[in-house]
Homo-oligomer: 325 residues x 2
C-alpha cells in the first residue's frame, strides 16, 4: 500500500523517449520547423513553429500511438487496441494499428468533426459513438474494453503515449538551437507532459508554457489550485483541448510547467486565421492557442527564442470557424 | 534587320540560372518538397510537391523578381522598378524592391484578390489599378513607365525573370532523384520557361508538362496551332493563369514542353481542396491545376516520379472557392 494520495503510476523516463524514437521513426515524419518574419515582427519574439500538422495523420498523436502499438507483444497485438478520443488520438491510433495490421476500436463523441471521423474510417478504424462529455465517453469505452479485451491506449494518461509525444521536443531541440521557451497547447496534457519529459532531461534551462482555451481552462485552474480540477464537457472551438488532466500528466504539469496562459474563442480563431494567412499551412484551432496567448502576453515572449508546437491540421474545410463569425 | 518573324530577344542560358541562384539565395527560401501517401495511392504516381507557397511572399515569383532587382546597377536601382501583374509578381517585385530599398510601382487589375493587394502594400509597393483585361493593363502600364522612367520588370517575358524562376527546378532536381516528369501551371509561361531552361540543360530526360485551366487554354491552343494565341480577359478561378504567352516564353514552350493538359473550374477547385485537406498546406487555385490534370490523365503519370510545382499560396481566406459551389 502506498502512503501517497496518488494512485500508483509508471512515470516514463528519458530512456523510454530514446527507445520510443527508434521504435517509431519508420512510421513518422521528422516534421519541419517553419518561421515567419511577419509573425516575428508582430510578436517581437523569434518563433519556431514545429509543424506536427504535417505529421502522418496530421497530428503529433501519431508519435504516442505508434509507440504504444509497436511496443505490444505479438499476442497482445493480435487482440488489438482501443481508445476514446476527441479526434486526433483516434485517427492516430487507427493509423498506427493500420501500419501494424491489427484491429482498432475508437469511442468518439458524436459531435467530433466529420473530417476526423472520415480519417479514422479511412485508416481502417472502427468507430463507436458516445455523447460529448467525459463521463459518457468513459462509460461507453469501459463496455468496449470489457467486451473485446483490446489493449487500452489512453489518449494521454499512458506512459507509452507520453514517451512517444516526447519525441517531438527531442526533434525540435535538434533542429533549433538555444531555445528560451517552448509553448504547446494543453488539453489532457499528453504533449505538454512529453515536452516536460524531454526538456527537463536534455534542455533543462528551457521554460515550458502551456496554452489553453479560456472556455476550457481546467488545467490553468488546476495549476493555481495545486490539484486536478476536471470539467465535464467544456465548450471551445479548440475541440482537441476539451479533456481534463489525469494523474500522470498532472505529475509533469505541476513539476515542470512555468505557467498556463489562456485565450478567448475569438483570439484563438484570429490566431488560427493569421497562421493560415501568413504561414500558408492548414492548422486546427487547438494549434493556434499558443500563438493566441503569445499575442496576448507579449511581455513574456519578447526577445525570446520560442518553440511553438503546432499540434495538428485536422479541420473541416467546409466549416471554418471564421465563416461563422 | 532580322529575317525571322520573331522580334529580337535575349534567351537566357543555364549560366544565367547559376548566376541568378547565387544572387538571390539570401532573399529566398530553398522550399521543401512534400509528399502524400494518400495522393500517391490516388494517382498511382509518386508525386513530389515543390512548395513555393512556402516561399517568401508565398510565390515562386520572388525568384525572378529578386534576380531582376538585385541585378540592377546602382543608378537604375535608384529610379526604381515597375510592373503589371495579376498578383503574385506584383507582390514578389514589391518584396524584392523592399529588400533592396528601392521604389516599386505595380499596375494591378481592380479585381485582383484583396489578399494580394494587401500584401503589395504591406511590402511597400504602390498600386495603380486597371481594368481586368490584358489590353487595359498594358495601356495603363505604358503611362506609368513613361512618367517614372522605372525599370520594367515584366512578370514573365523577361530573361532575368525566367532565369530566376529556373532556380526552382534547379533546387527540385537536387532534392529529388530520378524524376520522370515535372509539371507546372502555365499562364504567361514564366515558371514553365524556367523549368524548360533548367531541365533541358541539367536533366534533359525529364519530360515537361504544363497544366492550364480549360477556361484560359490559350497556351494549349497555341501549342497545337504552332503560334501564340492570346485571349483578352479569360475568366478562371486560377487568377494567376489568365495572361497570354509572349515571344520569350513561347520559345521555351514550343521547344521543350511535351504537352499542355487542361482542367475545368470544378476539377481545379476539387484538386485545391484535396491538397488543403490531405497535405495541410494553403495553396491558391493556380497551384492546384497540375494535380487536377494528373487526376484527369492518370495514364500519363501512372508509375512515374513526378515533380509538381506548387506555385503559390496567396488566397483570400474569406472567399474560398468551394464556399461558392
Amino acid at each position: 500500500m502506498s502512503s501517497s494520495n496518488e494512485p500508483t503510476m509508471t512515470i516514463p523516463t528519458y530512456k523510454d523517449v530514446e527507445i520510443a524514437h527508434e521504435r517509431i521513426k519508420p512510421y513518422i515524419h521528422e516534421t519541419p520547423v517553419l518561421t515567419s518574419r511577419f509573425l516575428n515582427e508582430l510578436t517581437g519574439a523569434e518563433l519556431f513553429f514545429k509543424c506536427e500538422n504535417l505529421q502522418k495523420a496530421a497530428a503529433f498523436k501519431v508519435r504516442g500511438a505508434c509507440n504504444a502499438v509497436f511496443g505490444l507483444s505479438e499476442e497482445k497485438a493480435k487482440i488489438g487496441v482501443a481508445t476514446h478520443s476527441s479526434g486526433n488520438h483516434a485517427l492516430s491510433l487507427s493509423y498506427a494499428a493500420g501500419q501494424r495490421g491489427i484491429p482498432v476500436t475508437v469511442v468518439m463523441p458524436r459531435t467530433a468533426p466529420q473530417a476526423k471521423k472520415d480519417a479514422v474510417i479511412g485508416y481502417g478504424g472502427k468507430i463507436i459513438e458516445c455523447e460529448p462529455s467525459t463521463s459518457s465517453r468513459e462509460a461507453v469505452f469501459a463496455d468496449v474494453v470489457a467486451e473485446s479485451g483490446a489493449d487500452f491506449v489512453h489518449p494521454y494518461n499512458d506512459p507509452r503515449v507520453i514517451a512517444g509525444q516526447a519525441t517531438c521536443s527531442k526533434e525540435l531541440v535538434s533542429q533549433v538551437e538555444n531555445l528560451d521557451i517552448v509553448i504547446a497547447p494543453i488539453g489532457g496534457g499528453g504533449m505538454i507532459s512529453g515536452t516536460c519529459l524531454t526538456l527537463s532531461n536534455i534542455a533543462p534551462d528551457v521554460k515550458i508554457y502551456a496554452a489553453e482555451p479560456l472556455n476550457a481552462d481546467d488545467a490553468a485552474r488546476s495549476l493555481k489550485a495545486g490539484h486536478i480540477i476536471a470539467d465535464d464537457a467544456p465548450n471551445t472551438v479548440a475541440d482537441g483541448l476539451k479533456v481534463p488532466l489525469k494523474d500522470l500528466t498532472w505529475h509533469f504539469v505541476k513539476n515542470h510547467v512555468t505557467d498556463i496562459l489562456t485565450a478567448t474563442e475569438d483570439e484563438i480563431v484570429d490566431a488560427m486565421k493569421l497562421i493560415w494567412k501568413r504561414m500558408k499551412i492548414v492548422v486546427e484551432p487547438s494549434s493556434a492557442v499558443p500563438l493566441a496567448t503569445i499575442l496576448k502576453n507579449p511581455e513574456v515572449f519578447k526577445g525570446k527564442r520560442v518553440g511553438v508546437i503546432i499540434t495538428g491540421g485536422n479541420v473541416d474545410l467546409d466549416k471554418l470557424p471564421w465563416m461563422n463569425k
